[in-house]
Amino acid sequence: MKNLLNIKNLWKSFTLHNLQKYIKAIQDINILVKEGEFIGITGKSGSGKSTILKCIYRTYLPENGSILYQSDNFGAIDISKATERQMIYLRKHEIGYVSQFLSVMPRTTAKEVVQQAVIEMGYDIDYAQFQAEKMLSHFELDIKLWDSYPNTFSGGEKLRLNIARAMVKRPRLLLLDEPTASLDNVSKIKVRELIEQLKSEGTTMLGIFHDIDFMQGLCDYQYNMQAGEVI
């Protein structure tokens, strides 16, 4: 299998000028993700798990080190040095991010949320609508909810919408930041099935899970974090 993502010696800290604070979040992280793999990250709260994913998505500016990604469009690219426009392209077409929180434009229905992700990629509205409906039924979001606003959804419904929005783009790399955090057991099992399904379809995933048991038998490799380092 080819390497899809190769994180080398990644560092990130935060300087909070007004609070005169300096926070070391991660130090010297090395993570390798091959095509088609599901890689897990575990560790205590505050150990730096989300920081890694946010550096990959460039919500955080990586400080030191490199994040080599094998892009369909750009070839090998170091995400830590990519331009904003390159990142926007990668987010639109190749890299998805799913957390337990659903952030959507206000006054946008569930179906529109997924539809817009397709329109962003440059498709027309009819095709977007078709794909959105396909995804929402695929991930079993109740059809009664399609034309409602997601702010009223339950945790599980929000998550399914979140995943539908990310997956409708068929990303090559999916980043999962504790998607199951606020779910009950039944919903968690559903998510597990969903991830298995994505994996069988060939999606490469890098996921954070609090609950190690949940990852058993699911991931190809597991990294454990402690105080900003992989142990």
Partner: protein, 282 residues
């Protein structure tokens, strides 16, 4: 391989000063002036070396405190004011080969009428308040080369529909309308020449929250459906968060930080940006 796109607008080292400057500030460098003005002669350096690119279909956010030079920059881009120096290139004007700031006033008028649209915070600057609403739109259509009254009327009705102004009210002057409706007429007018670039300066400031939401939805819809590139200026980070893909932060006439909007919000680098983000969260 995709990804080497050309910007629709490129600004290089735009400078705008009010006043002649003196020996103290003339060869201005950062160390000499603490803020954006010279205490000796009172010259205001409202925009200093502003450079950025705007790409097709994107919304570029501009934030910064009052007096940081946001409106001055927008006025320079729309030729409401003349730049002191700087370069600007529009891909849809002479293939982006000519510095628009060096063009003749006739050419600048052409650019305004054909390539740009602008929406002001104060509707009185963008609209004739006593003219009918459709008449306001017709004015810009005439400037853009429309001649037939019937064409103008049908285009005007399309536009008013697009911004949700009931067509039966099109003959009414904007002064009869609420603030939100006035902004929507302004937006219709700005869109009338199908500009590839739309400039929006604090267009929701001062409106009630629900009206504000309505106008923001409209802006988002326009970007989605028409693919127009926009520069959205606001001192309100919440507006920027909702609209912009990328964001520029200005302070004392300079760009102090730029980045993807979520990065600016979650991992701001400059002390001023951190303070700005902090004030949004509390």
């Amino acid at each position: 391989m995709k990804g080497f796109e050309k910007p629709v607008l490129e600004i290089k080292n735009l400078n705008k000063q009010f006043g002649k400057g003196c020996s103290d500030c003339c060869d201005i460098n950062e160390k000499k002036l603490e803020k954006n003005y010279c205490p000796e002669c009172g010259t205001v350096y409202a925009c200093q070396d502003i450079s950025f690119e705007l790409y097709g279909g994107e919304i570029l956010g501009v934030v910064g405190e009052s007096g940081s030079g946001k409106s001055t920059m927008m006025k320079c881009l729309y030729f409401d004011q003349e730049v002191t120096k700087g370069e600007g290139y529009l891909s849809s004007y002479k293939d982006g080969l000519m510095n628009i700031f060096n063009e003749s006033s006739q050419q600048k008028r052409y650019i305004r009428n054909h390539v740009l649209g602008k929406v002001y915070q104060n509707p009185m600057l963008g609209l004739k308040m006593n003219f009918s609403s459709i008449g306001n739109i017709a004015q810009k259509l005439i400037a853009a080369g429309y001649r037939s009254v019937r064409d103008m009327e049908s285009r005007g009705i399309d536009l008013l529909n697009h911004v949700n102004i009931p067509v039966f009210r099109m003959k009414e002057p904007p002064k009869n309308f609420s603030g939100g409706m006035q902004q929507r007429v302004q937006i219709a007018k700005a869109l009338s020449n199908n500009p590839p670039v739309l400039l929006l300066d604090e267009v929701t400031t001062g409106l009630d929250l629900s009206v504000q939401a309505n106008v923001l939805d409209l802006i988002k819809k326009i970007q989605r459906e028409l693919g127009i590139s926009m520069i959205v200026v606001s001192h309100d980070l919440a507006v920027i968060r909702m609209l912009a893909n990328r964001t520029i932060v200005m302070l004392d006439g300079r760009i102090i930080e730029k980045g993807l909007t979520d990065q600016i919000l979650e991992d701001p680098q400059h002390p001023y940006t951190q303070q700005l983000v902090h004030s949004l969260l509390v």
